[in-house]
């Protein structure tokens, strides 16, 4: 695709009008194209305003109480207690390359576990929201990293200012049923879980995960774990990457 053809996808992307496969391809392109990211940011701001074009309707009187009642059943996800460690490099963005660290020899069932659980769908969409926000943040740095051979590879973006990482994974077959992939930050030799993920049938996924406040890390790694993830890795990582500062 030419640059021009890519840029033509910015408008439908901002409107949410790309088919899932087109959207994934375009998001992968966004990771490498500052011009398209700027265009998407601008057009997305326009699209958000469309909410104002909905015909005005008056909510029923009981809805306020319902909102508050349902909220009471789920506490907010709290910030860590105690003073937050200030991010000295808040505006800087760090890019990590996850290269092939260990032999990846497992054979896997190619079938993707498709869970229709509503909660899972919601999490996924919430994750997508923040993924796009991170990718489109003005301070994001990117690096193009050549993948070699057919081994699985990943590209990881860490935005300290947002305390988020966005990871794009390629050529990694979906984890078998009952298993999941888990991303670890290695801080002073100790792994800290950043979250679990799985790839789609085409071996790709782009996922956003929160970085615990105050955590800085030098290495990142991916392992395969039982569904739900593990407190500590139970196997050698098959993807390992070293943190390198963005240009």
């Amino acid at each position: 695709m030419t640059d021009h053809e890519w840029s033509e996808l910015a408008a439908p992307y901002a409107l949410g009008a790309l088919a899932p496969d087109e959207r994934e391809r375009f998001e992968a392109h966004l990771a490498d194209c500052a011009a398209c990211r700027a265009e998407v940011r601008a057009l997305r701001d326009v699209a958000v305003l469309l909410a104002d074009a909905a015909p005005a309707a008056t909510p029923p009187p009981g809805l306020r109480d319902r909102v508050l009642r349902e909220a009471r059943q789920a506490r907010p996800i709290r910030r860590a207690r105690g003073p937050l460690v200030p991010w000295l490099a808040a505006a800087a963005c760090i890019v990590i390359a996850l290269g092939l660290g260990y032999g990846y020899v497992r054979e896997r069932a190619a079938s993707r576990q498709t869970s229709a659980a509503l909660a899972a769908a919601r999490d996924s969409i919430a994750a997508r929201d923040s993924l796009v926000a991170t990718l489109l943040s003005p301070d994001i740095g990117t690096a193009a990293l050549a993948a070699t051979g057919q081994a699985p590879a990943a590209r990881l973006y860490w935005s300290p200012s947002r305390r988020r990482v966005v990871m794009a994974v390629f050529r990694l077959p979906p984890a078998p049923a009952g298993r999941t992939y888990q991303l670890w930050a290695i801080a002073q030799g100790k792994p800290v879980s950043l979250g679990v993920f799985n790839t789609a049938a085409d071996g790709r996924v782009t996922a956003a995960m929160a970085v615990p406040p105050g955590l800085t890390f030098e290495l990142s790694a991916v392992t395969e774990e039982p569904a739900g993830g593990s407190p500590q890795p139970t196997q050698q990582p098959f993807l390992v990457g070293k943190v390198t500062p963005a240009d």
């Binding site: 033509e8 408008a11 439908p12 901002a14 409107l15 949410g16 009008a17 790309l18 088919a19 087109e22 601008a42 057009l43 701001d45 326009v46 699209a47 958000v48 305003l49 469309l50 909410a51 104002d52 074009a53 909905a54 015909p55 005005a56 309707a57 008056t58 909510p59 029923p60 809805l63 306020r64 319902r66 909102v67 508050l68 349902e70 909220a71 009471r72 789920a74 506490r75 907010p76 996800i77 709290r78 910030r79 509503l118 769908a121 919601r122 969409i125 919430a126 929201d129 923040s130 926000a133 489109l136 943040s137 003005p138 200012s161 947002r162 929160a210």
Partner: protein, 193 residues
């Protein structure tokens, strides 16, 4: 939505900071400010009052649970809420297999008037500008944008629905959104305090 009202009250962001530490009153205040927007948007997509209520409760629940991760750099609180509300509403429509219906309704809204000014209750300057700008688009452009935003349809689905070539739909989406970008410029440049 995206625009916050001017005034002496605390900014939305201050409310979100209170949400993040579990202040329920802040949630009530956020609802008082933006509940009507969220409900209107949800209803425009799901078209059933009971469903719209569920969507709004879900959306505010998500805002409540995730307030700590709200990032002002990505836009206004109202815009965040609108984005979440739209996602929840489209989820619900899809989950119930009512997508086609929502789509038909959205298309039909051309005649019903998705945005007939005279049927609207009081709305702010920003809302009027958005409604007017959308209304001033050439009808084919407005229709594809409404099908995408309120109907949740992809370009390909819109082309199939309208029996138009995909290339035509793509062109209309781009042209329409570009025009809106121009006419809504007053709301886009530093509109957020």
């Amino acid at each position: 939505m995206p625009q916050q009202q001017a005034g002496p009250r605390a900014p939305d962001r201050a409310l979100v900071a209170r949400l993040a530490v579990g202040d329920e009153r802040a949630l009530g205040e956020l609802y008082d400010r933006h509940g009507t927007m969220a409900y209107s948007l949800a209803l425009a997509i799901v078209r059933e009052r009971a469903d719209a209520e569920e969507v709004v409760a879900d959306a505010f629940g998500q805002v409540w649970r995730n307030a700590a991760s709200y990032d002002p750099g990505r836009g206004s609180v109202a815009g965040w809420l609108a984005t979440i509300t739209r996602s929840r509403a489209l989820d619900l429509v899809r989950a119930r297999g009512r997508r086609v219906r929502a789509m038909e309704r959205a298309a039909q809204a051309d005649n019903d008037g998705l945005a007939p000014p005279d049927r609207r209750i009081e709305r702010g300057e920003a809302r009027r500008l958005v409604a007017r700008s959308l209304g001033e688009l050439p009808e084919p452009q407005r229709r594809v944008i409404e099908l995408a935003y309120f109907g949740g349809l992809s370009q390909t689905e819109i082309a199939a629905e309208l029996h138009e070539p995909l290339g035509t739909v793509k062109t209309r989406i781009r042209a329409g959104l570009e025009k809106l970008r121009g006419s809504l410029a007053p709301l886009l440049s530093g509109g957020e305090s």
